[in-house]
């Protein structure tokens, strides 16, 4: 669905509000139904509960008053029964809202008839006027009494069926209400959760795509635009970022062609200047006064200087265009070469050099030579005023992986200006102090960036400087995976002893990864066996495995290669061959 976050958010809020509205309506409806039932009970049953006992006891009183007057042989008491009867009839009249009128009039007539009969019976009993007819009068009285009692019962009977129905209706409504509440709440919660997940998922998906794309742009890789998967606000952002990247790419191209053409076009007049000044000096130097000769020499030197500047500028722009051809590069050997060359230029200088052996990375040899030439050249240059110069090339493992560094004890720089360090023509020292074009580090950064690496520096004035750089190796790993035939499938490791063997362990990164991968397959135990390893690394890795064999742990270690008489780099073909053999073995 093509919805913006705003619309999605509104949808969720709307759905929530709608769910609540339905819930509230349902609750209101059910509560109203309960109230209706309760009103019915209040209107109909409560008065009966009130009038019922009153009328029943009223009639009972009348009946008892006859019985009592007869028992007491009291004619006066007998006459007073009329008032009791009237009081009963009044109560009866008051109950007109509770008892229907037909019943009331029947009760009224019945009461009068009963009264007459009971009066006669009582009168005759008191007078002793017994005899056969009295029995008939009694029977008549009893019939009337029964009639009234039945009528009262019928009129005042709590309609138990109806009452039960009312209460069960209330209970049912209450139950329905509770169930509705629970059901609606759960459904609402479910729907809102789903919608939120939907929104969250789309946000996260878009965000991760966007973030990856922006990271790529940050590395200077503008070759691919960010994939626009969503049509929401983040999609808009991605689109804008793409447009920006496109513009930057265009600008970069323009800049490259501009600097190339500038450098190229500048060289032509410069060659003229150089040629003619040389002719002037060589052919006509003798006739020029000494002062003029010196001026021409200065012109020549400046022209040369400018040529160098243009050359490095040209180099920089060329670097941006040259395609990188990656293969394993022995940085240690390269560094040794570069330093030897530098030693040749100033053999009288006393410099201590320390190069870690066997540092191999995947990269473009000529370009990486440029990097080391510049970095080591800088070190050489900035240590020139030290009597005891130290230059070091080595590697470290930081959290992200391998980091290479060039360290010296030279002039250093103020960290305040570190931002200017890698800018074109930016110099932190004057030409008088240390010569240079101010383009070297810009070139280095450009090359490192093209290797998907990073470069940064640390320094303190007069305390030397360290330049760190990284080289991305992912691509190489992928390439190897492709060439060596998919991923190696390791089976039947569970509950078996696995022996991990390598020619040696330097940093332990490979062995650590291998242990981690095998551990996931739940082997019985893991044994690590290497002929040579750095002591500290061996100790550390032994904590991850069940058994460790590190035959030699020389200190200092330097690198695996130096402990072998022959340590050649394996070709892809050799690797493929060995893998093939191992597959056959496994079968």
């Amino acid at each position: 669905m093509r919805l913006s976050f705003r619309q999605k958010l509104i949808t969720i809020v709307g759905a929530t509000a709608f769910a609540f509205l339905i819930l509230i309506c349902a609750e209101a409806f059910l509560t109203n139904r309960m109230a209706e039932q309760l009103t019915k009970i209040q209107k109909h049953y409560i008065p009966i509960l009130e009038f019922g006992p009153r009328l029943e006891s009223g009639f009972e009183h009348l009946r008892r008053s006859f019985q009592d007057s007869v028992a007491a042989q009291d004619k006066e008491a007998l006459e007073k029964t009329a008032a009791i009867k009237d009081s009963f009839l009044n109560d009866l009249a008051a109950a007109k809202d509770v008892i229907d009128s037909a019943h009331i009039s029947a009760l009224r007539e019945g009461t009068e008839a009963y009264y007459t009969a009971a009066y006669t019976v009582s009168h005759r009993l008191i007078a002793g006027d017994t005899g056969l007819t009295l029995v008939n009068e009694m029977s008549l009285m009893q019939i009337k009494q029964a009639q009234i009692e039945n009528l009262l019962k019928a009129s005042l009977a709590l309609d138990r069926g109806n009452l039960a129905e009312s209460f069960s209706a209330i209970a049912q409504t209450q139950g329905t209400s509770g169930r509705t509440l629970v059901f609606a709440s759960l459904t609402g919660l479910f729907v809102v959760t789903l919608l939120s997940l939907w929104l969250g998922k789309s946000v996260l998906l878009s965000l991760s795509g966007l973030s990856n794309g922006l990271k790529r742009f940050g590395r200077g890789d503008f070759t691919q635009p960010i994939q626009i998967t969503s049509h929401d606000e983040l999609g808009d952002v991605a689109q804008e970022a793409n447009q920006m990247a496109e513009r930057i790419r265009g600008l970069l191209k323009e800049l490259e062609s501009f600097s190339y053409s500038v450098a190229h076009d500048l060289r032509a007049p410069l060659r003229g200047m150089m040629g003619f000044s040389t002719i002037l000096l060589k052919d006509h130097g003798s006739i020029l006064p000494a002062e003029a000769q010196d001026a021409v020499r200065r012109i020549l030197a400046s022209t040369k200087k400018m040529g160098e500047l243009i050359d490095s500028l040209l180099n920089l722009s060329r670097l941006a265009r040259v395609e990188i051809k990656k293969k394993p590069v022995n940085l240690s050997d390269l560094a040794q070469d570069v330093l030897s060359e530098l030693m040749g230029t100033n053999p009288e200088r006393k410099v201590t050099m320390n190069i870690t052996k066997e540092i191999v990375v995947d990269g473009d040899t000529p370009l990486l030579r440029v990097v080391l030439t510049n970095l080591l050249g800088n070190s050489w240059k900035f240590t020139s005023k030290k009597t005891e110069a130290h230059i070091e090339f080595g590697m470290k493992y930081l959290s992200g992986g391998a980091v290479y560094f060039v360290k010296d004890n030279g002039a250093g720089f103020d960290m305040q200006y570190v931002g200017k360090l890698f800018g074109t023509f930016q110099r932190l020292h004057s030409t008088e102090e240390f010569e240079g074009t101010g383009i070297g580090l810009a070139t280095v950064q450009s090359i490192i960036n093209r290797h998907r690496g990073e470069i940064w520096a640390e320094s303190k004035p007069e305390h030397g400087a360290i330049f760190y750089f990284t080289i991305a190796e992912k691509r190489e790993l992928k390439r190897r995976e492709k060439i060596y035939g998919a991923k190696l499938t390791i089976k039947q490791v569970t509950n078996r002893t696995v022996i991990l063997v390598d020619d040696g362990i330097a940093t332990g990164a490979t062995m650590r990864a291998a242990i981690k991968a095998i551990r996931k397959m739940k082997p019985l135990k893991i044994v690590m066996a290497v002929p040579v390893a750095a002591k500290s690394v061996c100790t550390e890795l032994s904590k991850l495995v069940n058994e460790t064999f590190c035959s030699e742990t020389p200190d200092p270690f330097f690198g695996v290669g130096i402990w072998y008489e022959s340590f050649p780099q394996m070709t892809d073909k050799e690797v493929q061959e060995i893998l093939k053999q191992s597959k056959n073995l496994r079968r």
Partner: protein, 153 residues
Amino acid sequence: MVRIRLVIVLLLVFNPISFYGEKLLASGNSSFFVIVNVQNPIASLDRKFLADVFFKKITHWPEDGVIQPIDLRPDAPARSKFSEEVLDRSVMGVKNYWQQVIFSGRDVPPPELKNDSEVIHFIVKNPSAIGYISGASVDIVTPENGIKMVNIK
């Protein structure tokens, strides 16, 4: 029961005359005879049965037919004798009992007739009736008159 037996013993000792070869319960105005219609097959009755009949707790003859008990008026001497000896209550007690029953509508008492002859008259007319008369009217109790005496055990 003890009192009835005593009376019977006394009667046997002092008045050996008997009608139909049966024992007299009592003699004189203060005594009574229980009588039924001559067609009634009953010859003798249990006292408890008779009391229940007069309290209308029993309403049917063992054979068949509704029992119609007939009382004498409260001032008749035979009534008090009958009340005490058969119903085991005073006339007043019986009256109280019936007042409650009458006004609560449960039942009506046996009709109270003025004298022996009215009782006899009623029984002659109603074969299912049972009543009592004073000992003085003993001569009238003959099958020819349509009534007979019932022996009380």
